[in-house]
């Protein structure tokens, strides 16, 4: 079956430009997460969506970062006025639930590698 997909796979942009990264979660998954991973580092939580609840934006590093999830499915992460320190791999994951139980397993997309020149 189809897994989590992300587009584009690679994005090179100039400092100051806006970028949009897209995530298509697994159909039926109610929870969707965005993470950022800098080279050789672990995953940094950015934002979390669960059903129709208000998203948990506690991980967004600045107000240049925002995300939407339309219709409980596709999500877009937008970075405005990109900076060189935004260069990283942006990973999206989805899961059935975020309850701490067995439905908690996250399924990751292949990521978008963002390079800000």
């Amino acid at each position: 079956g189809a897994g989590v997909s992300q587009s584009p796979s690679n994005k090179v942009t100039e400092k100051g430009k806006d970028v949009e990264l897209r995530c298509d979660p697994i159909s039926g998954h109610t929870a969707l997460y965005w993470y950022r991973q800098s080279l050789g580092q672990g995953l940094e939580f950015l934002i979390y969506f669960q059903g129709n609840s208000a998203p948990d934006k506690s991980g967004l590093p600045s107000d240049r970062f925002s995300a939407e999830r339309t219709g409980g499915s596709v999500s877009t992460l937008t970075i405005q006025r990109t900076q060189q320190e935004d260069s990283a791999v942006y990973l999206c994951a989805s899961s059935w639930a975020a309850s701490g139980g067995g439905g908690d397993t996250q399924y990751f997309g292949p990521g978008t590698r963002l390079t800000v020149l």
């Binding site: 669960q50 908690d104 292949p110 990521g111």
Partner: protein, 113 residues
């Protein structure tokens, strides 16, 4: 700061040997999960162990959890070159962190053939 801390940071072994990676954390958890990442791209879920479980097995993988020591270990037996990857532990601690997984910095495993 990362709450799941793995050690060692890097591990290099010969094919056929066992690999053990450890994860320590600082708060009460709902569950702890291990993931594998190849080539800096998407992560693949390996095992989830709940806070009331002490050990789980999946194929050549064995995970233990000691909540009194706030630590977990991942053992890969009879390693293969294809096991070369980064391994991350992640904790879910709803009381402390809400509905998100908190990942450690990972252990880089290299299996030499």
């Amino acid at each position: 700061s990362q709450q799941g801390e793995e050690d060692p940071q890097a591990l290099s072994i010969q094919e056929g040997e066992n690999a053990t990676m450890n994860c320590s954390y600082k708060t009460s958890i709902n569950n702890l999960q291990w993931y594998r990442q190849n080539s800096g791209r998407g992560l693949v879920h390996l095992i989830l162990i709940r806070s009331n479980e002490r050990e789980k097995h999946s194929g050549r993988l064995r995970v233990t959890l000691d909540t009194s020591k706030k630590s977990s270990s991942l053992l890969i037996t009879a390693s293969r070159a294809a096991d070369t990857a980064s391994y991350f532990c992640a904790i879910r601690a709803n009381m402390e962190y809400g509905n998100k997984l908190v990942f450690g910095a990972g252990t880089i495993l290299r299996v030499k053939s």
